[in-house]
Amino acid sequence: MSTEPMNGSQILLKALSEQGVDVIFGYPGGAVLPIYDELFKQNHIRHILVRHEQGAAHAAEGYARSTGKVGVILVTSGPGATNAVTGLTDALMDSIPLVCITGQVPTHLIGNDAFQEADTTGITRPCTKHNYLVKKTGDLARVVHEAFYVARSGRPGPVVIDLPKDVAMGLGHYTPATAVGHKSYNPRTEGDPQLIAQAIELMAKAKCPLVYAGGGVINSGPQASERLTRFIRDTGFPCTLTLMGLGAYPASDKQFLGMVGMHGTFEANHAMHDCDLMICIGARFDDRVTGRLNAFSPGSKKIHIDIDPSSINKNVAVDIGIVGDVGNVLGEMAGLWKARKNKPDKKVLAPWWKKIEAWRSRLCLRYKPSSSIIKPQYAIERLYALTREHKDVFITTEVGQHQMWAAQHFGFDKPNHWMTSGGLGTMGYGLPAAMGVQVAHPKALVIDIAGEASVIMNIQEMSTIAQYRLPVKVFILNNQYMGMVRQWQELLHGGRYSESYMESLPDFVKLAEAFGAAGLRATKPDEVDDVIKEMLAIDKAVIVDVMVDQKENCFPMIPSGAAHNEMLLGPDDEAGNPISDEGMVLV
């Protein structure tokens, strides 16, 4: 314990520094004024002033996901905290490590309905991995160190520290991080060797194996992605990834089958359905991935590797559940596989690959090109092609059709370069997330592939982007509809487009200019390349308004309530496959 007592705000900043924090995304207010006063007096932690607390949370998510570090948010009590709730929930669903410091009214006023009081620990309990209310200044340093430990270890997630104003102003002693251990939270990171050996046994016998990997591989760190890649190559197995896992295995590799799930590829979903061994690595059998559960991969044995024991056997019963860090387990498995004498001949897998090639030859991501109207898929294809010479390209998205098209048509060869709201599906995620990524990687090319409806949900962050001169590119696929809502209304509700069309959208070019950014627009296919090149040449923030086909739907698609082998490949498939009543109630 250090000798000099410090005030709570100084303790907080010292603890953050010790945890390696260099950036905080935040917004001041009455309850956090003492902390902002200390921030003012120092230089080692940079504060990014957002325009709305939800923006701070998503920015911290983008920062965290693109760096592998913990993202930090500082907001005031009451509305500051409640505004951050969507971002916290988003981070919980997608396992993003965040520490969110919320101001709170002084301890003697808690429970009195004081000005800007909210029961922050009560409200955030179900949407955080853990939360704390700090009652004594002397506890603060320990709580901060514990919060970082909880946020980043095991399955990562958001942690809230609710800090009453009197605790931030009171005096106490600092506790260094090395003095803080955790008595009850010690997640298991090494897989059970016996289960790993059994898994290898199953893999050696498989004739139609498939690796299905997810965001857990990204969370485990770049080494896990390298190990996954090497393992796939050593085994000769095909690999599919979830939306959250894109980049964990190179998209350009021929053993990659594309994304799995509702808008995944025909070959990935059919392989999921027909495989005889599924190896799930750091994914969670989400309903967007499985489709109808009782028809999910009926003939396969299933191995599931996950750091969170509650993910195993939650939705789908598996044969072997291995609890551990996927990077560690992959390392063990690679070693065992290499050492194994009687490995199956690659020829054993040949008939399986032949089947996969047949599915692949359906070219499920094909769309009808047009010379008069911009197809959204075409716009993303061109964006992908024209950004190949950039060394580091980070893509964030909003939520909806454009998100799925981006996932389908933009190839990711590296982890931590794809930021999207998967679990919660938060419209308005992409712009602030891009801001957070750009703060972490000032020189990189950061593009928010957006829909016009989503981007408006947090458009105020253009002002933050202007303040910090962040050269974020916003690539809007503008169809004037909430596209995915419109698509479901077409497929499920007789084409009654109830409230999914937006009149009076802003002129995005003028909007960009109003925020000090450049605004560009493309309305015809032959303008797309020029507009992208121009966007890339501008060294400040740009909004590109790409006017795309309003009627285009996102295919392929597993309709709700259907199985993997009941995919719709395109509009012509719709009529013959009416959606069941059970499917109608699903989200």
């Binding site: 009560g122 095991g154 009850s184 939270y185 969170d308 024991p309 019963a317």
Partner: protein, 171 residues
Amino acid sequence: MSPQAQQENKHTISVLVDNEAGVLARVIGLFSGRGYNIESLTVAVVDPKQALSRITIVTSGTPMIIEQIKAQLDRLVPVHKVSDLTLDGPRVERELALVKVRGLGEKRVESLRIADIFRAHVVDSTQESFVFEIVGSTEKLDAFIDLMAPLGLAEVSRTGVVAIARGVDTI
């Protein structure tokens, strides 16, 4: 799925937690948020020195749900240990009830007689009422309360189940 996998069974789960603010809310929130049943829940400090509380939960569900409940409880940060006493082997389960019975004459005498059979104690009495204290399994308490119904049962307060494994092993 096999019929066995669909069968809902009752489980008694013991959870050792840090005795800190909000820990009970975390446990209850988990059950309500994920739609699990709570048939009974008790909580009290069991180790004041290490500030540990023990929560005993009686819940029911299919084997997959019970496994989920345990895994979800175990990943709460202040949880030290989750133990499924139903699966772990023989155990002792007890519940305490305070039962107020109002009555006069023969009914009053009969309630006393039944209380005697059940080894319930009279812990309060007036000329027209008794408060019985009864300890036993949930089933025993249910049977006693049923028998008191026609004899002037007025009010019941129960603790919920506490349980511990038989034998030398601890959780």
